[in-house]
Amino acid sequence: MAEPVLSFEQVGYGWDGAPPLLASLSLTVAAGECVALVGANGAGKSTLLRLACGLLAPSDGRVSAGGLDTRLARPSALARVAGMMFQEAERQLCCGRVRDEVAFAPRLGGLSATEVKRRTARALEATALASHADAHPFDLNAGERRLLTLAALIAQDVPLMLLDEPTRDFDAVQLALFEAWLAREKSAGRAILLISHDYDFVARNCPRVLHLAGGGVIADGPPEQVLHDPALQGDSPGAAPTLPALCRAIGLPPTTDAACFDAAWRVACERRAALSKSRGEA
């Protein structure tokens, strides 16, 4: 089996003066996997992502990204294997123009001017930001700023992407754009580990979900199984993922796919109409 793109082996971490946040935590993410990390506020999700890209070093155990031990590897080497989208887009923007922001990582990586330009253009197109290329990042709206951080990651072109609540600032149109990108990346073999509180989004896009609590991964499995923990969202009848819940409530085959649901619902409605018509005739 190929070496995982990301692996945590018995990792422990604690902030100075605080009790350990993560303890004996092990996990792997393989190429082509899109894995969601869920958990309560303060469970250590963002800390785990920082450990994954080497911004933090584990107190115990070993973290390996793209085959590099994050404790030993140079930052420039880590930047070639792992890219991070921070929770606050504003905290990772450092250039005065959208175009320069996207070109920042490939330029630092020592790529040729032609390659930097090619990557920048491709990333701006994928995120629908080409028309804002000369704007100041802070003149964009929150959703566009988030897309800009995505464009910077696309241009960085790393095998492991770590996304901290990537969808939070998106409206419906931007979310659809992001999900289309995600689908392409998954099939292209990119490894993605993302944090999200939008469990419908998780169910639609992440076949594997990790539940982080009490310093470790307490559940690792498909979204329907892992997300049903009452600790995550209570146990209301509309608990996410909501489409399978809706299917079960009205007797349709459970699905997270909107088109499948619509087709099944249409058939159910037509059957009901035919039945009611035949009753009327009788």
Partner: protein
């Protein structure tokens, strides 16, 4: 009398020719909740700043029409005076932290201290605000070590400690788990004498409000109950898959007359069952 009243109001940023907000027209009685909804760039945060009293000192702009808070012009009031009446919590909680407090408790006390209140009153307000936000355990933490969700609870506690009459929540729960956000919002809605204005991209978070105002490209398109606006606003907003399924069913005429549009995922289950059982 309405606590907030806008009549054909518009706002034009300094140096701009076209207004960034226009046709703003609504009245909100004290104690009620308004949800301002719209997609990215629709003008929600600008309206939030306007309501927070940022015009003109923090948001250089000129206004036209009527824009009033408690019967007086919204703009031009002294920020120090307005701070005790109106509080804005923004989506980025770190922007609300002063950066000069070593503990969360001191951070929450910062506002009341600047109101010149007595120590006993400050302590009471801090305790109350931290408890409301389930943030008592964070009181001794350094603000710089807070996670996004924890910082959001603290930012909200800082605003509540000022005991405002009007609380503006500009996507102020976006770092919390859905369950935690619902619980907090429910607590705020039942606080006596507090008027809430939510600014949301999420239909469901907004749907519980008494009134929904839809912004699109800086223009007020409609202001009505959520159920009335459902079919028009949903394409621009985020919503759970179950609620979006209801929107598609209604658009495809696979719904039943007399069955209301859902305002939450749990509600969607009930509404679909009503359509199916009809």
């Amino acid at each position: 009398m309405a606590l907030i009243r806008f009549a054909q109001a518009s706002l034009t940023r300094a140096g701009a020719t076209a207004p960034c907000l226009s046709c703003i027209d609504f009245a909100l009685p004290a104690g009620q909740t308004l949800a301002v909804v719209g997609g990215s760039g629709s003008g929600k945060s600008t309206l939030a700043g306007w309501l927070a009293g940022w015009v003109p000192h923090a948001l250089p702009a000129t206004e036209a029409g009527v824009a009033e808070f408690d019967g007086a012009p919204l703009s031009g009031a002294l920020p120090a005076v307005r701070a005790g009446q109106v509080q804005l919590v923004q989506g980025n909680p770190y922007a609300a932290l002063t950066g000069c407090a070593f503990t969360v408790y001191d951070e929450v006390a910062f506002g009341p201290e600047n109101l010149g209140l007595c120590e006993e009153e400050i302590r009471a307000r801090c305790r109350e605000a931290l408890a409301l936000c389930d943030a008592e355990a964070l009181a001794v933490r350094a603000p710089s070590t807070l996670s996004g969700g924890e910082a959001q609870r603290v930012a909200l506690a800082c605003a509540l400690a000022m005991r405002p009459r009007l609380l503006l929540l500009d996507e102020a729960f976006n770092r919390l788990t859905p369950a935690a956000a619902d619980r907090l919002l429910e607590r705020l809605r039942v606080l006596p004498m507090l008027t809430l204005v939510l600014f949301e991209k999420s239909f469901e978070r907004a749907a519980g409000a008494d009134l929904m105002l839809w912004l699109d490209g800086g223009v007020q398109r409609a202001c009505a109950e959520a159920g009335v606006l459902f079919d028009r606003v949903l394409p621009a907003l985020t919503a759970s898959d179950a609620v979006r399924a209801a929107w598609r069913s209604r658009a495809a005429d696979l719904w039943r007359d007399g069955v209301a549009a859902p305002c939450s995922a749990a509600d969607a289950l009930t509404r679909f069952a009503e359509v199916a059982d009809g």
